[in-house]
Subunit: 358 residues, 2 copies
Amino acid sequence: MTDLANDLFLRACLRQPTERTPVWMMRQAGRYLPEYRATRAKAGDFLTLCKTPELACEVTLQPVELVGVDAAILFSDILVVPEAMGMELLFTAGEGPKFPQPIRTAADVARLPVPDPMVELKYVMDAIALIRRSLAGRVPLIGFSGSPWTLATYAVEGGGSKNFSVIKKMLFNDPQTLHQLLDKLADSVAVYLNAQIASGVQAVQIFDTWGGVLTTSDYREFSLHYMQKILDQLTRDHDGRRVPVILYTKGGMGWLEQIAATGCDVVGLDWTIDIDRAKARIGDQVALQGNMDPCMLYANPDRIRSEVRDILARFGEGCGHIFNLGHGITPDVPVAHARAFIQAVKEESPAFHRQAAA
Amino acid sequence: MTDLANDLFLRACLRQPTERTPVWMMRQAGRYLPEYRATRAKAGDFLTLCKTPELACEVTLQPVELVGVDAAILFSDILVVPEAMGMELLFTAGEGPKFPQPIRTAADVARLPVPDPMVELKYVMDAIALIRRSLAGRVPLIGFSGSPWTLATYAVEGGGSKNFSVIKKMLFNDPQTLHQLLDKLADSVAVYLNAQIASGVQAVQIFDTWGGVLTTSDYREFSLHYMQKILDQLTRDHDGRRVPVILYTKGGMGWLEQIAATGCDVVGLDWTIDIDRAKARIGDQVALQGNMDPCMLYANPDRIRSEVRDILARFGEGCGHIFNLGHGITPDVPVAHARAFIQAVKEESPAFHRQAAA
């Protein structure tokens, strides 16, 4: 299928047989790794790390080499998209990202351009090319973006939020302006992901981190609709290969059927739903990615292994499972535990793929 | 049924016919009310407000008189229970609650007594007696407590949390200690709620604000199990009247059947599930409370009214709906909007209760 030494991830995304369950971790290139912290220190600040292809490449490869994951994911931040649209973005130590001039009015939205990813986000494309060369076919490379709704929460709130009160005020009182913003973000994300695919990523994931704070009808109208719009514009085949698309909505357990119906290849699950229930609902249409509680990595390796076994058993025999955490790995996890997790999936999962091996 | 001028809330909890849908708001005695802020200023600090029956009574009655809700809820804080168990509790302005000496070991747990609510929490019982006298039968009074799991998150983390990493470390690595803590909290909550009932509250709600951060099996083992333990100890009839019990787990949409199976009278819903779906799942066993997105109160009154109408229509004709927000009202909501919400429920709901009126 590809010239990859390990294409388990891509095959599982397409629900093709594999000898074992592939595994990677959201936020796997991150602060829990001392090597990441060293590269980050070299960069000076977080945005410089994102914008320097050599350094972004370095941290992208670290979990492949140090932890043994079955896929690399481009090191970047979801907020580089609004930044590329002209919004000043600050990462202040210990404070999380800030947009000092948030989007509040129709005029603010009108001023935002759809960026040319080959210009404003060229550093990402350069990083992708470099990562692909450095990976040299060891594992596939995943590209990603935030969902329009999730990007809009930061752009409108001006940073992270607890209640999302500012963007919900806009949603309820001025939905037209919010729709214009989401539409522009969807177009920006679509061209951005297509540029990533053209530059060499072999799958893409859309992170809808904050879709779960919406009601069902608002989720459909303000989040899922715009992910669908992106999907409809995406390059789904490149160089004769299918480019799998993963949709991940944290807190989206109520909407799995609608998410699967977008035509994505994989639905990402958080840890609050049992994977057997998710499989019963949508497993005949899509592959499933997930879904161990990231906090399980605080447990000792034996406990981690028993949890891995439990999730594998819930998914059961057969194709279409990519093991992952239900959300990003947290910074204070011991590296040995992350390694034990990956190792446990590799050792425990072949028993569930006997047909493929036979 | 009672000597109440307005017993709509109690009847709806028991799925008895009502002429319209009763309505109240979680956190209705709160900072969005200028009158609350004035009483709070008089008290000096938050804990003094909780511990001074006259002032707690004053703020409990404010939403009844100023906003027109169909039930009063005791003004207090869920964390007075661990405080009554001897944990020092600080409310620092703008920082949220803090326990400077959090519970981390089996020895810490062993040192915690089950409090005598008539001693350590006597100020709550005094407030209840005073509130009942001041209400003079206008509307029923709801008592409440945090769930053992939710109380434990604060007691173990030492305050609010984002990832709940400290308590989850305990959950995965030292579940026995956590079980001992939860067991003691369950006993403390049970005697506390029974004392509230003996003192005059006419229904009780258990707030499981953080149950939704758990996996399904951990929710069952570490949260629901201990709410069940409380239910099994609760006084369910007092003075010849049923005392309805409301269980509310934020993020609990995956576990509605298990929550209803505890034998509670009412299941509280957050706003991420459509109430018609919840009703189809458990509406034959329990009443439902909820579930408008609290942020909807930022919208203009017309938009609020159309949302109220939508939720009423989803629930449809018949008994067993207590209208509420899906979580607490936020401090920056205009009072006029809160009033418009209550008014909209009162005006729009009779159409769904024609049989009762006929």
